[in-house]
Symmetry: C2
Subunit: 204 residues, 2 copies
């Protein structure tokens, strides 16, 4: 290994630390209230050095979104090991409910970022969070399709919409129990869809 590859390896390490720190800090403080210095401190990287890895703050936001997309891919990868699509969706609800305290305090990482970036048209990042949400929607839609249910796209919107809605309410009211109770409702809804046979159940 040459000096330069070792340097690159160290550099890549810092880059990754900065991306992970960006994801975490942006979630807690929001995109606008977070300064480069905040992210640098969280990643234990000197402030001035950040610009070597990310030329602008927007690039850091982009990196945070990639981080969220990666986390999502990891989660759906795990869930994909379950044989039954219905069990996969139920396990996803369980994962959401398990995060109830974080959701009540800071909301859904991607959802809140989507709201903030929408108001930030300049950088052209206003649609990027939507892309990450789209990844989740597509995966969920695939599960509903595998279950043989009609309108899998609408079902996915209902399902993910319910998650975003309960996260926002839990956050706005600072009440993690909202995640628990609405999560239980979502699970019962999934059961009713599968048990219903015809799939004609009119639930939202």
């Amino acid at each position: 290994m040459t000096d330069s590859t070792r340097a690159s390896a160290r550099g890549a390490g810092k880059r990754r630390r900065l991306a992970a720190a960006a994801a975490a800090v942006l979630h807690r403080q929001g995109a606008e209230r977070t300064t480069i210095a905040d992210i640098a401190a969280a990643a234990d990287v000197p402030v001035g050095n950040v610009y070597y890895y990310f030329k602008t703050k927007d690039e850091l936001v982009q990196a945070a979104l990639a981080e969220h997309a990666g986390n999502l891919a990891e989660l759906t990868g795990e869930l994909g090991k379950l044989p039954d699509p219905l069990r996969r969706l139920k396990a996803l609800v369980e994962a959401w409910v398990a995060q109830r305290d974080v959701a009540a305090r800071y909301g859904c990482p991607t959802g809140t970022l989507a709201v903030e970036l929408d108001k930030r048209a300049e950088g052209g990042l206003d649609l990027e969070a939507g892309r990450v949400i789209r990844l989740l929607l597509d995966w969920v839609e695939h599960q509903f399709r595998d279950l043989g249910l009609p309108d899998p796209e609408d079902l996915a919107l209902t399902f993910v919409g319910a998650y975003q809605g309960m996260s926002l309410l839990a956050n706005a009211l600072r009440d993690p129990e909202i995640m628990t109770r609405q999560g239980a409702r979502l699970t019962r809804w999934l059961d009713s869809l599968d048990g219903g046979g015809t799939g004609a159940r009119p639930a939202p």
Copy 2:
């Protein structure tokens, strides 16, 4: 009428214009990206004069929230004229769907503000948006209670959560049709609750 009361009347007019402008501009640009100058321009009031009516930017945000609360009270007041609670809720869904283009572009005014204010702990406004959402929740819960359905509080959370979720998705994906389709689902859900008789329908 004395000079001072006339002056007060003019003053109150400007104050009201500023509050209304704050509500509108904060919705479009977000709390962080909006400057005092933006609000002043929208209200057609000279920048420096703003501070006579609102000592800080936070007070303007507070005024915008009061504006949203007022709009909500007006809407529920109208809906209250309908004799049947079920019709009231359906009419509320219709009102939401009618705003689909605004929702797809800027999200729910109160919901997006709740997300932003959550990250803005300093001013102590972080829970204020939640209070406005609570007003809506209480009204909706009341309708479900009048329908004689069990767990009206949870039903209200599901109903309002569905609205917040569909607004966020419509906004993140810039697709007003999401409001239309999910609104139709919500309406069918309401019908199923009422028609179900037992109210044991497991929908989320």
